[in-house]
């Protein structure tokens, strides 16, 4: 198997490069390390897209198995993690398509074309508003709120803001242009902010 090259311009190769090389040399325990390193992120991304626990379990397995099978196709000009996320996003979309009996599913779904407008809700939030809720209740609020976003916004927000991919990496992963990622990210952030205001806004005196 060929040895992958570190990403051009980086002085130190990413630690995953050595692990990937070991896997290519037949060392399954190195793949074990890669799975443990990224399984939580892949599971989260799959849950955000499929919104279904069983599908997310299947996607996680399929994504890691597919990445293992296709490791020879990984060029090393992107990070292993970004490459893995792209596989997981595609697997998640395929899983959604299956659930909808073959109906096409794309990341453009539900996207409105109008540009972002100035937010309507002016209410400021209470200081540390999340502390007004128990952990389970807060998780439910956060889950419900992000599930209400159009899919094309939700995926961009999750990759960029929750999982910490750069704008370039998000664009590459989703096959979108950088301006498209930026535009969706702004809309996603503003819509989430507005929806969360319902729960987090500062209460007026006497208001329950």
């Amino acid at each position: 198997m060929s040895t992958i090259q570190p990403i051009a311009g980086e002085l130190e190769p990413h630690p995953d490069v050595a692990l990937v090389d070991r896997v290519r040399g037949g060392d399954v325990s190195a793949y074990d390390e890669l799975v443990r390193k990224y399984d939580r992120q892949i599971f989260r991304i799959a849950q955000h897209i499929t919104q279904n626990r069983e599908d997310a379990e299947d996607v996680m397995q399929d994504a890691f198995l597919k990445a293992y099978e296709k490791l020879d196709q990984f060029q090393g000009n992107s990070k292993f993690y970004t490459w893995l996320v792209r596989i997981a996003v595609n697997e998640s979309l395929m899983r959604l398509r299956k659930r909808r009996t073959g109906k096409m599913v794309s990341i453009d779904e539900d996207i409105e074309t109008e540009e972002g407008s100035v937010p309507r809700d002016l209410a400021d939030w209470a200081p540390d508003p999340e502390q007004n809720y128990g952990q389970a209740e807060l998780n439910e609020i956060l889950r419900k709120t992000i599930q209400g976003l159009p899919q094309g916004f939700r995926i961009v927000f999750v990759l960029r803001d929750v999982e910490g991919l750069s704008t370039d990496e998000t664009a590459e992963t989703l096959g979108l242009s950088i301006p498209a990622v930026k535009s969706r990210l702004l809309r996603a952030r503003l819509q989430l902010r507005e929806r969360l205001s319902r729960y987090f806004r500062r209460k007026k005196v006497g208001e329950k």
């Binding site: 399954v28 074990d32 397995q61 803001d161």
Partner: protein
């Protein structure tokens, strides 16, 4: 600077990818616009909350089960 112009640069401000000149213009707008100040602060908080709360946790037993299944298949050559 109008509120719409501020909003167009909101993400760049949050992601700290504005030039000092642009930042100065945005800060000047913020000093006179409570609306945009609230929007900036609550949008930052929105990101922070989603970043710091794992709403889809992978329980340890499920993690081990999935992990074992993946590695077993890899050892067999998938």
């Amino acid at each position: 600077m109008t509120c719409s112009e501020f909003l167009a640069l909101l993400d760049d401000l949050i992601d700290d990818s504005v030039t000092p000149e642009v930042r100065a213009g945005l800060q000047q707008h913020l000093r006179g616009c409570e609306h945009c100040e609230v929007t900036l602060n609550t949008t930052r908080k929105t990101i922070e909350i989603y970043r710091s709360h794992e709403i889809y946790d992978l329980p340890p037993d499920l993690r081990e089960r999935l992990h074992a299944a993946i590695i077993a298949r890899c050892k067999k050559g998938c």
